[in-house]
Structures are given as C-alpha cells and as structure tokens.
Amino acid sequence: MIPAFMAACWINAGLIALPAVLPASYEIRVQLNDSSRTLAGSQQIRFINPTSQPLESICFHLYPNAFKDTSTVFCRENPRTKSKVASGNIARLDLSEIKLNGIKVQPDNIEISGTLLYMGLPAPLKPGRSIDISMNFELLIPAAMERFGYDSNGNYIISHWYPIICGYQKGELIDREYHSNSEFFSNFSKYDVTVALPADFKFGSTGEFEQISSNDSVAVWHAAADTVIDFAFVCGPRFTVFETDTLGIRLYYMLTPNGVPFYQKTDSITKYSLAYLSDRLFQYPYKNYIVADINSGSQGLELPGLVAVVYSGSGLERTAGILEVTIAHETAHQWFYGMIATNETDDPWLDEGFASYYEDKIIESFGEDIYSINLAGWKIPISSLERNAVLQDKASFPIDMPSWEYPSWGSYSGAVYGRARLVLESLEYFLGQDSFDKAMKDYAVAYRFGHPDSDDLRDVLEASTERELLDFFNMFVKGTARIDYSVESLEFREITGDSILSYLVTVHVKRELDGKLPQVLSVGLADGARIDTLWDGRAKFREFEFRTGSIPEFAALDMVQACPLDENMINNSLYRENWTGRIMAFEWDSIFIIELLASLLL
C-alpha cells in the first residue's frame, strides 16, 4: 500500500509503475498441424527474479490442461465444460526436454499440481538475477471452448497456450489454479515468436507481425511484442483481413464471410473506443490492434492487442447493439487488464468492472441509438435491465472477492461485471464527474504497465480527489452495503409576523438501508426556484428546514438519479401535487393490452 500523499507525489513525478526490467522474455518456435489439431515447438525463456527475495522454484501455468480430463478443478466447477471434455473435446499441453541453464531438469525437481507446474531450482535465484529455461511442448487444440480452440470455419484462436510463468504481485507469487470463474494474471514480458502455418492461413497476433517465408505448403510468420502480459494469435483459412489506421495504430479486422457485412460497424466502434479510452486514460501505446471474428467459446475475449468477437451465428443482427457493446468492452480491457494489469484471478472487479463501466460510457457517448430493445416504440435500455438484474440480487457478495470464491457464474458476473459498474457510477456521483474523470486518469497513468490492487486504486483516488474513500470502499467494494434513501414528508407553513410573505418548509428524509452515501436534497418552489442542500446521508432520519419566499412543489433526493446503487428511486421524491392524471393514462395503457389480447380470443 502506498500512503496517499506519497502516491500523489509519485504520480506527479511519474515514478510509479513503469517496469524497469521485464521479468521474462520468451522465444517461441512452433508449427501448427491443421490435420492433427496440434501445435508443437519449443520455447526459451530468460527469467529475472522480480522479487526482493531469493526464489527456490519457478512456477508455470499450463492452462490447457484444465481440459485434459473431467477430473480437473475447472471441469468439476463447470458442468457444461465437463460434458464437452467427457465427450472427447479435450486439450492438453505436454512438456519435454525441460532444461535450466542448458542442464536437463530431473523429474524429481518437477511437481505438477492441477494446471500448475513447479520447477525446483538447483540454487536459489537471487533478486534481479536471471536464469535460462528451455523446453519443448506440444498442445492438443480443442474445438472452441473456454477462450481457445478452432471454430466451425476451421480458424484458430490460440490463447493461454504455452507454459506461462506465473506472475508476481507486490513480491508475492500468484500461483492460482485455473478455476471456472477465474481468468489470468502474469507479468509484463517480451516475446519473439515464430509460427509455421499452412500456406493459405491468415495470421494476426499480439505485437507486430509479418510473414517471413513461404512455400507451397507452409508459411512462416514472425511476431515480436514488448511489454505485454501475454501472447496470443489467431489464424485460419477463412478470414478476410481489412486494414486501416487510427491515432497512429494499425487496425486489422479479421472477418469471416459472416462477419464481413459488419465491417462498417466494427470499424466505427473500434476507432471510437480507442479514441475515447486514449483520451480518458492514456494513449494506446502499441502499434497494432486486431478485432477477430472467431468463436472463442464466449461472446468476446480480450487478449493483449487482440480481441475475439463472435460474429458467426451469434444473432448479432438480431440483438440490439451487442457487436458494438462487445467491441467497446473488450477494447476497454486493453487498458484494464492489458496495460493496467490487475490480478484477474484475485481482483476480477478491477478489470471486468472497469471494462463494463467504460463500455457503458463509450456506448452512451457513441451517438447512435444502440444497446436498447425497441418494442413498438417502448425503448428499453439494456443497461437498465442489467441494473435491475444486479439490484435484484440484493448484494449477496462483495465485488472485491477472489473469482473462485463466487459459487456460480451468475453470482460472479453479477458482482464483478454488473454491480462493480454500478459502484463505479455511484463513485462518480459521489466524487463528481470532473473529479472522478481526473482520478481515473491519474490511476491509469500511475499504474500504466503496473499491477495494482484495490488498495492501490483507493490510494490514488484519495490522493487525486483529496477525499476520504475508506468508508466507501469498505461498504461497497469490500462489503455488501445497499443504498436506499427516501423523502418521508414535505410540509410547509406560512410564517406570520414578517413584513414579506414567507414560508417555513420542513422536509423529513430517511436512510432505509445500511449503505451511506451523501445525498443532494433538492426542494423545488412554486416560483421556479430550487434549493439544493448536501446531506451526508449518515443518520437514519434527518429533518431539514428552509425559509422560502414561495410554497414548495417538491422535495427530491438525487434528483437526476445519478446514483444507480439506490435500489428504489420511486421514494426519492415527494411532490405536493398528485399525479393522478399521469397514473390514469398508464392504467388505460395497461387495460388496453389486456383488452387487445382478450379481443383476439373471441
């Protein structure tokens, strides 16, 4: 944890987060065998101890082995994946010829636990010292599931595919098993990758890439990526590649025949998202960015410099704005995962929650009426439906919890995607738009190429806004506090004895639930004036008195309804006037629907 005042100084001095030395550099040489669906090759890694303690072992993730049989943690937690694996759609990552500094590692020095491989070192590796590791490996690729594989077009998405060194955060090894709800964490590294593919395959990857040789049957591609947390690629025979530029970034859209009609939509939302996030956070620093139309087993998938979006058969043309939303979300992940590389397994809200928040902001400002369902003129914003779904859950789980501790996908996604977005929007309400935007930018710049956690986020926000946020984080990030404020009564009486006619307006407000957030109480007057008062929102009940020159029309808390965590906005306001006419109009609408249905059955 960084004390707030120090964080502020460090941010200003630009001292935080730029990794001086990358802990690992990978040289990978592989060949894809399209008929056997295997990828075989070798990798050499130069690993530098990034901690302040000597290391006695090095740990690797073997993510594909989560799908080698049905006994794995992943399969035990995910019946859908388990049934796919049981039906023979398996993946497997086999290693051989493992060497440390050129000397073969004895089997005794290797311990495999689930998807983790621990390699004992012959001697402790001192801080800042390096070691060379080499190995051969062969990957059996499954039909697309759980973020990698080949799809029905015969195209491949190859992600989390090689033995990856487990990351370190604040000097601690993050060696987490691959769970059904969890994603990934590793440190920034350098990659030099050569991939041999069938000659007719198109290729796109993390970093910069080019074809370096080809003959009738094989084409060899070379890719280089610096300061990225992972390396992934897509390839296949059924891609049409579109190239364009924005903000000095080369964009590649790798679209299948089903995706080609969506080129224009893809192009406009991708460029807009990159521009929006570059402006709000910091400039996208890499030269390339790829949007690939491929089924990775989920609607969208973020990888460094590359996002996979399901176009084919996903009903994109039928679902309101889902393409734009998915691209906006995955592009936001380039920052909140790719460059501000939070720990996705232990603090999933720091990437999914932020990506959901910025996805919403991008879509809101995109300027097109998308992401809403239109039922004969009744426009239903999907973000409102999401809010309702989240609030329905009554905050069963905190948003800052390790991914594997959520008992189901629904509880995980509800908290780390949905509720986290509402928490950030409520924080924006609490801090004010400008202050929040500045704080987010400070956070992004401070931890560009860093690995922050929730405490780091709070430290930067506090330093940037000069506001105390411990209570907010304890209630809504670490805790499960819920918010509902109401206006209980609105009364007034004429003040006698004054030379000018005046009134004493009394408003009673109430905090209905345990969550506490400052509220703006607005009192509207008959002469059109409005009095706004800030209430700290802490007491259970509070009485406000105002001396006014006109009778009150209404009293409202959070009048603009900027705090989406407030679970009941109906009781936020109290008007002197009855809205009987408006309610009657709605009642007639409701009767009409029943009437119409009944008349069709005569």
């Binding site: 609030l391 906005m569 002197r576 309610i583 007639w588 609408d589 009767i591 009437e595 009944a598």
Partner: protein, 284 residues
C-alpha cells in the same frame, strides 16, 4: 344513427369491446390501487409516459416482489372468476349476431331471451373455452414450426404463417360456438361431427373469407396504431391522453368488429354448407 344502433354486428362489437374493457379493468384493479399508493406523489410518475420506464418498473418489481406476486395471484383469480361470466354473455352476443329477426325463435335483444340463450349454451361455451387452450397451443406450435421454414424467405412471411395458423384455430373455435348456438347442442363431439360434415366442402370459402376480414382489420388497426404511436411520441398532456385512450379503444373495437363479422360470415358459410350437405343427401 338509429340504423347503426339496429345493426346487430355493431351492437355485438360494442358489447364485446365492453366485455374486454371490463376484463382488463377487473384483472388489473388490485395492481392499480397498489400503484397509486406508490406513485401518486412520486416524481417516478413523470416516467410513465409514453411508456413506463424500465427503471420504474424494475424498482416496483424489485422492492415489492411479494406484493407483485400477490397481484399476479389475484389477477389469475379474478380472471378465472370473470371468464365464466364473460362466456355467459358471449353466448348471447353470438346469438345476437347469428339469429335473424324473422327466425322467430329467439330475440336476444329481449332481456329475457338474452339470458335464456346465455344459460342454455353456457356450458358448451365453457367447454369450447377450455378446448381453446389446446387449439391455440397446437396452432402456435404449428405456426412457429412452419414459420421457421418460410422464415428463410422473409421475416414477414414467418409472422404471416404464425398468424394464419392462429386464425385457423380461432375459426375452428368460432365454428364450434356457432354450432352450439344454432343447434342448441352443447356437446363438442356433436359439434365436431357436424363440422366434419359441413366444413370440408366450404374450406376454401372459410379460409378466404376469414383471411380477408382479418387482413382488412389488421390494416385498419395498423393505421390506428400509427396514430397512437404519433400521439405517444408527443409530450404528456391531458388532451393527448384522451386521444390515446380513444385510439386504443378504437383499435379494440375494430378487432371486435372483425370478430363479429367473422362470426356472421362463418355462420352463413356453415348454413350454406349444411344446405349443400342436405341437398346432397336428398339427391343421394
């Protein structure tokens, strides 16, 4: 005006509209009482026009799920109680459409006759209402299945196929009701027997007539709906609300008018089919 009021089809359509309006009001009445206590003085009432906002709907449902459940149950109970009463009246309205004054058998315009006819056919109409659940489910299933095939060509065709199957189901139920009224026999089995005797020779006529009436009704409803949408796109004011209510009731009336015309048409086709069948029997 007097001529219009003497038109049985129009009177029947007004009566059907009134029955449906009453149904909507009764089913929703408990919910409306609840809604008024919540929204009468809340700013959320400003978000009910042109449609209730999803946020308001969500806040009502999320924070009052118990009450909403209670209203759903009460709506179902009211519906179950109301439907037999509606069926009682519907039988007489069918009679009003079908019987001519010169039949001399019954005059549903007379209150006593109206009630007598209602009670005579009531059980038969309830049987048809229960059977109707199966008919509509089968029609929906077939419509969606065949709609999938035709849907490859156009989405409109898909909808049209579903619509035609539902219309066919509705026509079958109308014919069953007409048979109950005209024969006085409340047995569904007898109804099916006479349908099998009469309908095959009149199938094309029935199909074309019902589709024509439905299509014409749909066209008028669409025009009224566009008007309603136009009003709904404007800001709230009492006059616009009044216009929207009138348009809504006109839409329901047009649907009821279409139903009455179909009942009358189906009856005449059946009568003609029966005459044809009798003629064939005499010739045979």
């Amino acid at each position: 005006m007097r001529k219009i009021l003497k038109n049985k089809i129009l009177i029947a359509s007004f009566l059907f509209t009134f029955l449906d309006l009453l149904q909507g009001f009764l089913v929703l009445a408990p919910f409306f009482i609840f809604l008024r206590t919540f929204l009468e003085k809340s700013g959320a009432a400003l978000k009910l026009w042109p449609f209730m906002s999803v946020d308001v709907l969500g806040d009502i449902v999320i924070n009052n799920s118990g009450a909403i459940g209670m209203f759903l149950i009460s709506a179902v109970v009211i519906y179950v109680v109301y439907i037999p009463l509606k069926t009682l009246a519907a039988g007489a309205i069918y009679g009003l459409i079908i019987f001519r004054n010169d039949d001399g058998r019954i005059s549903p315009a007379n209150a006593g006759d109206f009630l007598r006819l209602s009670t005579d056919v009531w059980i038969g109409f309830i049987k048809v209402a229960v059977f109707g659940v199966i008919v509509y489910l089968v029609a929906l299933f077939l419509g969606i299945s065949f709609g999938e095939i035709f849907g490859r060509f156009s989405k409109l065709l898909r909808l049209a196929v579903v619509f035609i199957f539902l219309l066919a189901g509705s026509t079958l139920l109308q014919i069953l009701r007409i048979n109950i009224i005209s024969s006085g026999d409340i047995s569904l089995r007898t109804g099916f027997k006479s349908i099998l005797r009469i309908v095959p020779g009149s199938l094309v006529r029935l199909l074309i007539g019902n589709i024509s009436v439905a299509a014409a009704g749909l066209a008028v409803v669409l025009i009224l709906f566009i008007g309603l949408k136009g009003i709904k796109n404007m800001d709230w004011n009492p006059a616009r609300v009044l216009v929207s209510i009138v348009l809504q009731q006109m839409i329901v009336f047009v649907v009821c008018l279409g139903q009455s015309i179909r009942i009358n048409f189906n009856y005449s086709v059946m009568k003609r089919g029966e005459d044809d069948a009798l003629g064939r029997a005499e010739l045979g």
